[in-house]
Symmetry: D4
Subunit: 224 residues, 8 copies
């Protein structure tokens, strides 16, 4: 009865293609340890997102050493990552506007890898220096799915969507200040994009963008 | 020199998989007629979205009879619709929460059809009467892409995303009043979804949801 | 004259069915001790809400040992809790979407108990894994009043209101990030519910939801 | 197949105590006539809310004469209203701050009557002239459920909740201008109430307040 | 030249009836010490507002001992307070809804006293327990100016304005949480008041309310 | 019983110095005629605010000829205006930034006159052409109360408050577009004023500014 | 005395380089005719902005024929436009993202021309079809000042600012719907631009962008 | 390969007149050191903005001693500042409303100096004490470009724009509280300015205002 305040959804991958992950930002270390125990008892791997270093170090030593912690992605993994798919190039690219967006990019990348899917990462190619994007364009045109990560005025997903034929999953980030603090301008800008085929997820939601990409990826791969 | 204030992007399909469409809400009848003339001269078909009946009837008789007008979708088409793909069932389903969302659903459907892609339509299966959704679930689980259209508190995309393995393109609608007038609550609710794999487009953006679906569709079909 | 800057409302239960409680978030430890002294002098029990651990430990040792502190609920009680009513099952259920909502649930539960009323608690049955809710549905249909606690897009109260005949008191929580940070999306979603019979209280207001439930409870019980 | 874009929920009363009603604001006259035909075929009564006079007069003559139209409430009823319960006084009071709130009050009253439940109506007793409320207080203290309707700064539900032991269902209205245009200040004021036991529904949602009251009413009456 | 980045307005009282005060929240201790030096050189008294204890203790010992610090008001005074006017009762009352509003009340009171004006203080008489306000009403009806301080839904200024003939200067406070966090609901509620004669100042602006009261006070007193 | 949905507050002047007025924006012509009849029966004069021409002309001919209509102020008066006070100059000035603010100025002026109080009007002296304000400054410095009416960025009340010793009642107006549409920027600007002694009322609330001025006026005059 | 409610600022050009213009949106035809009479008496030319056709046709025939009306710009001019400067190319370019932005472009162009300054106009080169902008880039790099007009997500000013060395005056437009309705997203996007040298004016403020350009233009030309 | 997540834009000055700067607020010390190493390898100078003292002291000792840190401006410079231009007076003035705005002023000044451009600084001349501004007016009228820095209600840019013929670059600051916390009121006030020729940059964006000024400066100087 001890853990009845937590009900894990271990069948989620079967039902809707993606694994349950544990969003740690509002959970106490106690709650996380209950979840870890439950997962271990069921012999499950598990992905922990939004787990900052402070909270990670509040876990007991046992769990600190059992988990693999990814500081840039602010994530931890219980168990081994699976072997990655080996399409060359991978079907998915993650593109970011600035180096401040690194956390979100790596959360997305790790989530993909956790599901066994490879992806390429292109950072710091925002449109204020357009040549950086145009330089990579021939490469970018080869992917089947693009996750575009950008803060501030978030023009990158729009410009990109006009240049490639892949669906764009836009991830606005909380990078900004003044009027754009917290990422709302970036979010609204992505949603207002005058270029077709841009879909948006919540601010900083690298995990969610990867989930969406996984669902699309599986439909592409399973069909073929 | 007459039309140099309008620059059509007739190569868009080649570049990024979707045709240019003309968003009519902020254009004058004069501007629309200039665009129609330009398209006709170039022997192009063209899709006009957000063209309400009042504005349609302000066009000259010539253009009124030349265009095919779709009143529920509030769209017009210059030229013939292409023959539809014949996957059975189609890869794409459009699902709506209430019958007030019909305009947005039909704008999405027509946009797909305009690109030669078939889709099935499931209307009025919002979660306040959950049995309506559960009744259709076995059918819904067969699609590769689902466009989920909902206003008010927009719980449908979230519930659906937990029940199927297809990517969900959520289209919040402006159906609502008081706190939810204009669709912002629906939009924010979709973006906040705690279910993985929900991607969101702008309020009432049936056209945009279809563009995204087309890009995904082509990646699925071309791969196989 | 010393305490004239505080005027306790000790007759509130007689007048409007619920006891005064002390909302501690904006009060200094000094003010709390004045209130405690005043209550003690009047031989009153008292409920303290939104009293986080940091502030609790800033009270003098005397009061720390006199009060009973409930860390999950972030509440303290001066005096004994009354004996609970023994309807079986209780008339009231508290339902939450995720385990991050535990504080709010326990604040509501403790407030009910402080007024001598029992309630059952169902945690972590949010709609992203709909089977969790459907599993509990036969049980949930037995209650007379349901307090539904949810953050993020807060679809739970809406789905629930379509499945049971009890009035739903929705408590949006501040669980969320990006667009839903602070709980405004959850709040607006509850208010926009397209299902009938959903009433909403302020974000994280477990105490207030319990007060409303108590007023309804007394009308039910006193009538019979 | 003709009406498959509309799925009526005729079993709603059995499942969750309240009848389905048709929210007309975003529906076309065509859609309303489809629904009327469907209801007639199934021999059902039906309540239509938010049906303004302009739209009512766009229905065919047949339906105009078949329906009973209530102009202040902006509602129409298909079929007969049931006989009302005869508790004396009724269990429910509807209270409003100003005479501008009349539409919302009557929408709530009609919804109650449509479900066979009587209620008393107290209008124009807002707190700017406090004597008006205090005059009625002995009467108001007799009810089991109070629906409190107020716009502008909406102080009425708060003052009332401190004076009676009944649960208060607050309905903020869109009466206001400048900062309070559209009713958001009234809504937020109700949600922020420092008095216990206030529950809030969406702006102008007289129908929803009645649904909530009905669910509470049935629990009171069925228990006794 | 050293202090040319600061230009004191020592003639303000002559020009517009109130002394310059130093708003400390965004100034560094260095800047405050420059201002103190400048005032001392000019032999001026000076009022420092929004000076929290942390910042006060970052001043040099010299200034800490020279200044008189008022912790509840979060203010400091350089020099002596003047002798107060001795109208009996004073012309001005400061009224607050809850004991959490004490800081704002005392900032207003100290500002009045700094200008040589007496005032009476009535705390914790918010409308959720209406008897507290009605008890004090005969006293309150004697004042010429009332500063009404309230957070949350801020119904106090509205109720008061309907009961007395004095102008009401409403000071919304940042006391609140969820929808009312930061005081915006209180502010908007004061501005939307349906009672005549309510004027509003910025959230927590005890100083500003006192300035306004001083300007009115001088017009009353100088005329007579 | 016919009019029991309207409760007039004919004793308001005695209780709180200002007459009840009828805010017409949300009332139907029917409701206005009921109020007129009630006032006539009680032999009362009455002020109607926010009564635009369209609605005025929807009243019966009888009432159109009985009332005196003021088109710029958008107000009507039942009965005679009283004889004005004859202080020279009057104690109150109404100052506006632009000629677009005329309606609000005249609503304030008429309200004062309706209470028998004279006032001077200075229009179109906004700070973008500062000489216009500085030209009038010697005159403006003579008043005891200034109502300052301004839209857009509303800098006028701030500049004025630094130049005169009278209390400033700021009335932001809805004059503006883009970011300042509806008057919220003007409102927020007034509330944020860094000049002491500015009090603010709701957007376009000429009536409310006059009520506040009347309460201050009476305290000044009655004291002397 | 008749016109004392209007004070024209005929010396503005001397004082701050730009002529006064009359913003017509909130002025009545009566007020406009008073202003026209005043200008005519003083033998002045005058620019009228935001004068839509409906209001223009409400002026007397005399003024309709005296004024030159520009329907796309929604402006009218009293008197002759001056001879334009003949730099080749002009120093100023006006660039727009879409043909829906034409009104704002022409308001800016006419304002420049009204001050005797020539400018070139590049319409419909938004970044969703990036080739349109890149095609014009060599031309655009020749200007000294660029006014960039864009709605929706307004990525154009950002992309442009990274490609040219001229200062960019961004004019967000109200072109948009859903989340971007009214132009707030465009505005916020311009303000958040991660490219240096972008300055922003209010939504749709073509006139204001031209005023700023004129001030810069004169400093460039007068210096040389 | 080590630094491929960072792509420096060292050719920015050639392309668009201003140097790349590094916005440090969202970068980790690790990222900053990677950038420093890259710049050093390329023998580049570099400007670091929004680098608070805490983060600066988290850099390695080597970089702390290599960089020149400017605490008021919260900036650091790698390499030497260039020799300043010697126009007398300089073409650019930076003007601020209050001494709390010092950080933003100095960020702008340092950015100009980093590009070799001199500027004069006028602090604490806000309009609440108008004489401070009028005193400096003859001096201020001599500049070609004015950067106006103001928080709270930000009336300074508007008043200034009506008094000088130079273009005004308004920088709203985050100085404010209550309704104006974070600087949004200041921003909106600048954008709503009824005075012509005011252009606005993001809140606290001293760097951006300087970039804009540099682009204008170069056009003025290069033309002459």
């Amino acid at each position: 009865m001890e853990n009845e305040n937590i009900i894990m959804d271990f069948e989620r991958r079967k039902r809707c293609a993606i694994e349950e992950a544990v969003f740690c930002e509002f959970k106490t270390p106690d709650q996380l340890e209950q979840i870890l125990t439950l997962a271990k008892q069921n012999n499950k791997t598990l992905l922990f997102t939004r787990l900052n270093q402070e909270k990670f170090f509040m876990l007991s030593k046992h769990w600190q050493t059992t988990l693999t912690y990814h500081p840039v992605a602010r994530c931890a993994v219980l168990g081994e990552l699976p072997k990655l798919t080996n399409e060359a190039p991978p079907l998915i690219a993650i593109v970011s506007a600035g180096s401040s967006d690194a956390s979100v990019c790596h959360e997305a990348l790790l989530t993909l890898n956790y599901h066994g899917i490879a992806a390429d990462l292109f950072q710091d190619i925002g449109v204020a220096g357009l040549w950086r994007l145009l330089d990579k364009l021939p490469q970018l045109q080869q992917y089947s799915i693009i996750i575009a990560v950008a803060g501030m005025e978030a023009a990158l997903p729009t410009v990109l969507a006009g240049l490639v034929d892949a669906p764009i999953i836009a991830v606005p980030t909380s990078i900004g200040y003044g009027i754009s603090v917290g990422g709302n301008v970036a979010l609204q800008s992505c949603l207002s994009s005058c270029a077709g085929g841009v879909m948006t997820v919540n601010i900083d939601n690298g995990y969610g963008s990867a989930c969406a990409a996984i669902k699309i990826y599986k439909k592409i791969v399973n069909r073929s």
